[in-house]
Symmetry: C2
């Protein structure tokens, strides 16, 4: 289903030869209309890949007719030549599809600092265009995988309309956003402003709160395309909720497939003085390597949680902090609480609750543990 669950979209995924192992590496998603409205959010990293710089300009125009996505190379830190490669990709897709290049978004993922093999990529666009189908969403989702072990798709049905999407990402997952490419589609008849507000609200509490390894990518891209093909214009609130559900589903799938991870860690910060405080504390806990190792070892090491909270600027009194791990309040009032042997750490999901005892705001951050497999995967990736 994926990006073709909604009416008005076709997609394809093929092997263009960008990846040397012959796996699928090029995806094409085309909005057949009648509407071509679109919104996008991009990495907060100031070192942005060429396709991010390009697609940011496209999104400013408010219309996207097609998205070209490739795995096998990030086209980041490739200089003016890399930007020219992205431009040429858009021109080629425009020519093949009969659209304007200024309405073609580009997204790339893979190694940083390597030029794309344009002699493979450009013919690949013709091949992908020839294979476009209203059932092509699954193949497109497969073609954007890098170290992902599974492809990720999600669909939410509204009343006569649909929001669907695909995502890739398995590492370099950190706020603002993860290393991920996400394309969401809908046949709801929503204008650019409505798409933009729904997408920003959704990513703020989903993809922006995934923090697998503290590393922020140069290529993150989340696009939302509306075809209007259902002819239905749902209320903005119900539409935004559907977009949030799809984003939340995909974000959880990213965490569940993070490189080398053996635990999915749900960090809920409660009773914070502000939402910003809650997010800052949640991220600090999410990024603490010592804690991430302890949780990998199934050790409910609440001291490392407190140590992480202590590095933040959030409002709290060290003597009033409470921490629960998997529902057991192992730390009460900044000191030893209930018996840590009561904590059952056998399952993949670990729930940490950090009570700041200062206010009533809350945030949830998702993270992963730190494992020898993560080290192995990331010390060998480019060599």
């Amino acid at each position: 289903m994926s990006v073709t669950a909604a009416q008005g979209f076709t997609a394809a995924g093929i092997a263009a030869g960008i990846k040397e192992n012959g796996n699928p590496d090029l995806a094409l998603v085309v909005n057949q209309g009648p509407r071509l409205a679109a919104a996008g959010v991009f990495t907060a990293n100031r070192v942005k890949a060429a396709p991010v710089l390009w697609s940011q300009q496209v999104v400013k125009g408010g219309q996207i007719s097609a998205v070209v996505l490739n795995s096998g190379g990030a086209n980041a830190c490739t200089g003016p030549e890399g930007f020219q490669d992205t431009h040429a990709t858009a021109e080629k897709a425009a020519e093949v599809l009969g659209h304007s290049a200024g309405e073609i978004a580009i997204a790339s993922t893979g190694l940083i600092g390597v030029r794309l093999p344009m002699d493979k990529l450009l013919p690949g666009i013709e091949k992908a265009a020839a294979g476009l189908s209203a059932h092509g969403g699954e193949k497109a989702a497969i073609a954007i995988k890098t170290t992902d072990t599974v492809h990720k798709t999600a669909v939410v049905q509204g009343d006569g309309w649909t929001v669907g999407g695909m995502a890739k990402g398995a590492g370099m997952l950190a706020p603002g956003l993860a290393t991920m490419l996400v394309v969401l589609t809908t046949d709801a008849d929503i204008d650019t402003a409505g798409l933009d507000s729904a997408l920003r609200a959704a990513t703020r509490t989903t993809f922006d709160r995934v923090d697998s390894d503290g590393c922020m990518s140069t290529n993150d891209t989340v696009l939302l395309l509306a075809s209007g093909a259902s002819g239905i214009t749902p209320g903005l609130e119900v539409f935004a909720e559907a977009v949030r559900e799809v984003c939340d589903d995909l974000a959880r799938q990213l965490i569940g497939d993070a490189e080398g991870a053996s635990k999915d860690i749900r960090i809920e910060v409660i009773n914070a003085a502000s939402e910003d405080d809650a997010v800052e504390v949640g991220r600090s806990i999410a990024r603490n390597n010592l804690l991430k190792c302890a949780l990998h070892g199934e050790d409910p090491n609440w001291g490392r949680v407190l140590s992480a909270i202590g590095t933040t600027s959030a409002a709290f009194d060290p003597d009033k902090l409470n921490v629960a791990i998997n529902g057991v309040w192992v730390c009460r009032n900044g000191s030893v609480g209930d018996d840590r042997d009561l904590v059952d750490m056998r399952y993949r999901e670990v729930r940490i609750t950090a009570d700041l005892a200062e206010g009533s705001e809350t945030a949830v951050i998702w993270a992963n543990d730190l494992t020898a497999d993560y080290v192995h995967e990331n010390s060998a990736y480019s060599s």
Copy 2:
């Protein structure tokens, strides 16, 4: 040598039974005067261990007659009872040594969230006091080890005066400061204000720029004690430089013995608009798990350096960034530079130079790589 290299100091290190394995775990350092001047810097973590809270108060008085240090337990997150344990430790040392408890500094290291076995610790103080010696510095340095594989000492000789010291620390090393206990002694005749300015200047560019694993401890303590026993008052500048040299030496020893590390990474940020920018960029590079894994795999992955720089708020233009690894400028103008195959990664020390091309400020941060051994050591530590 260690803390007894300077005249006017005695020390001891013994096994009090705090550690279950019977290893040395209690150190005592006594200033025999004639001066009892002292200065201290402590962790910036807002969750501070009981001995940190205690010793901060002692240092405010400007005099320290003795320092009691224990490994085998951090006495952090132990509530009012833990603070009472620290107080009782100081009272016991005061009684045994014939000093005021308000002049006894306390430092603890080990697991967070566990009370100290006071029935072992208090008799240990009597035993340590009985063993005090002007040659006891080495034994004291050994007694404060936790996961350290070697004990750490350093000495710098002035013209008729000496600065010496000992340190422990092998993980949870991050700015503001590392998980470390450091006691420096001098027989130079320097007052509290002089000690304080020399110590702050020294730690700012040494211990504060060690970032082994991004984790900030609850117990970091660096104390500088002056006995005045040499009768010589050196110029403050030359004295401060000696203190800086001892701190730099000990800081490098901490990085060299970091848990599970196979590489010592020297990150020099050059041509920054401000020193703050240089430090922010250096720390961001130091904490990037993906880069730390790549360097472990001897992969000169400059793309991950750029990705880390891009997450900072420092002044830079992405298209003007240059990065050298072990002297090879693998990234020029934000894009592919010299051949990465020219980078020789075989040695333990890895030098990264990040050129921001914005100004003339510089900073050096020392870090370690991320290894499977680090994960193993820290996933099993408390269980």
